[in-house]
Amino acid sequence: MKIAIASGKGGTGKTTIAINMALVLSDNEHGVTYVDCDVEEPNGHIFLKPQITEVVPSFVPVPEVDKEKCNLCGECGEICAYSAIIPMKDNVLVFPELCHGCGGCSLVCPENAINEVGRSLGVIECGTAGNIKFIQGRLRIGEAMSPPLIRELLKKIPESDIVILDSPPGTSCPVIAAIKPADMVLLVTEPTPFGLNDLKLAVEMVRKLQLPFGVIINRCDLGNDDVLEYCKREEIDILLEIPNERRIAEAYSRGQTLVEELPEYRERFVELFEKCKKGL
């Protein structure tokens, strides 16, 4: 089963939920893989402290023009949707950072003058954290596009009973890339106006993708009741609520897991998983 943990708003507690679920479920004899899809700012490793055994560099194929073969016909520029390859009067300019790697230019070139070389996206790192199989992507700093790295990361997920996809925040293409393969999405929110605003966007997103989902309310005793009322109106299941306790925040700040600091929460994550299974 693949469970994605997402949110609209950043900082609601996705990684907290993801790593604690991974820890509790792996203790209960399930085979668990934790996937950190927040390739821009991966944080799962801070809590799971994995042993990394494999580092695989990842690339986007971008064009390189062979000037000997190029006849300046301009076909490459015609097909490019991103202005990444611009034929000029006596030269072809390439802007590799704009290229999406669609391969169009090399396909249309009548002279076979375009080779594809790699633009570095970042790396994919695999390892283990106790019983948990661990895999994360780490975007190269300066690289604009995270979806291609996320897609590569997803291809490398090892077979597992349970796969936990710790997603980036937001509702646009990086999150879509991360949550697409999920069987179930858990939307983590906080009961504040910003939390509610972004939750509504996230709900639209999972409905557009037609994925089953539930909501987790973190820091549930601050703010107001608007999130609760919204979920009731929309008939959205609230699968877990975690109160706003300073000691939880302090443990988090030290890189300690919730279930380590407050073992009474272990049972709640087991229950959460049972609800996910029922949700399907």
Partner: protein, 296 residues
């Protein structure tokens, strides 16, 4: 030359989400005594309007690119499109194929090579953008469509519009609320700015993400200042942040206490400094004074 522009751009980013960027921006724009233009560039989860209560004066649609879709009646089911699609956006359905809107990156390769000319490839609306008035100055903001792409392009559009307004109306500062992360909307927010203010939190996650986003700003040669929000949550990590800032040459503009007033003000629909006298309001004022000094 940047230094000869009549306005300056200050971008507030964080690396890690949830550190308090938008809450801080709402307060800073309230404090700015010279007039400012405000841009909410966190386009796929925009929240600043919830505090600034904008009155929309102008709105327009945004089209960042194109989308392909297969005309079912013309599709022969040959699968050439699926073979060529590098983004896994084309899937079989019955005897034919279909393009998943949420996966299509709008490259047009499938449409170009379809032997039946069965693929429609045209511009799509990715979202909407607005120019509004607020009690703190003009606000440029947007709503990116759900599951849409081209957030970087939309951010660039908003910044260009903000600059136009600053020039036309004589505003000295553009204050930009950025997105979390280090990807295209963040890059589009910071390139060419005068100063980046990174709002961080004293958690190991916050520190890790601060290093990455700080490096990003350095990559684009933008000066960095840091504000440590919720600093008293973990004074050890606060110290680690100030050490990092010192090593990297980032100015620490201030530290803000971990305080329920942030949520109370948000629920009341006002910025923290508008919520009344408080220690946190003073701390934010102090941050702003430091930013102004750095800007000058």
């Amino acid at each position: 030359m940047l230094s000869s522009r009549p306005f300056k751009e200050l971008v507030i980013i964080s690396g890690k989400g949830g550190t308090g960027k938008t809450s801080l921006v709402a307060s800073l724009v309230s404090l700015n005594e010279t007039t400012n233009v405000i841009a909410d560039c966190d386009v796929d989860a925009a929240d600043l309007h919830l505090i600034l209560a904008p009155k929309i004066k102008q709105r327009d649609t945004f089209s960042g690119g194109k989308m392909a879709s297969i005309v079912a009646e013309k599709c022969s089911g040959c699968g050439k499109c699926a073979e060529l699609c590098r983004f896994g956006a084309i899937v079989p359905t019955g005897n034919i194929f279909r393009i998943e809107e949420t996966g299509c990156e709008g490259c047009g390769v499938c449409a170009h090579f379809c032997p039946e000319q069965a693929i429609d490839y045209s511009s799509v609306i990715n979202g909407e953008w607005f120019v509004s008035n607020t009690r703190c100055g003009p606000l440029v903001h947007a709503k990116l469509g759900i599951a849409e792409e081209n957030s970087g392009k939309l951010v660039s559009l908003l910044r260009a519009r903000a600059k136009k307004i600053a020039l036309a109306e004589g505003h000295k500062t553009i204050i930009i609320d950025g997105a979390p992360g280090i990807g295209c909307p963040v890059i589009a927010s910071i390139t060419g700015a005068n100063l980046v203010l990174i709002v961080t939190e004293p958690t190991l996650s916050g520190l890790h993400d601060l290093e990455r986003v700080g490096e990003l700003a350095g990559h684009f040669k933008i000066p960095v200042s840091v504000c440590i929000n919720k600093f008293d949550l973990n004074e050890d990590v606060t110290r680690m942040i100030t050490t990092l800032a010192s090593v990297e040459g980032w100015k620490v503009c201030g530290k803000i206490s971990y305080d329920p007033i942030f949520t109370k003000a948000q629920v009341a629909g006002v910025s923290v400094v508008e919520y009344g006298e408080s220690r946190v309001a003073d701390e934010i004022r102090s941050v702003w004074n430091e930013v102004v000094t750095t800007f000058a």
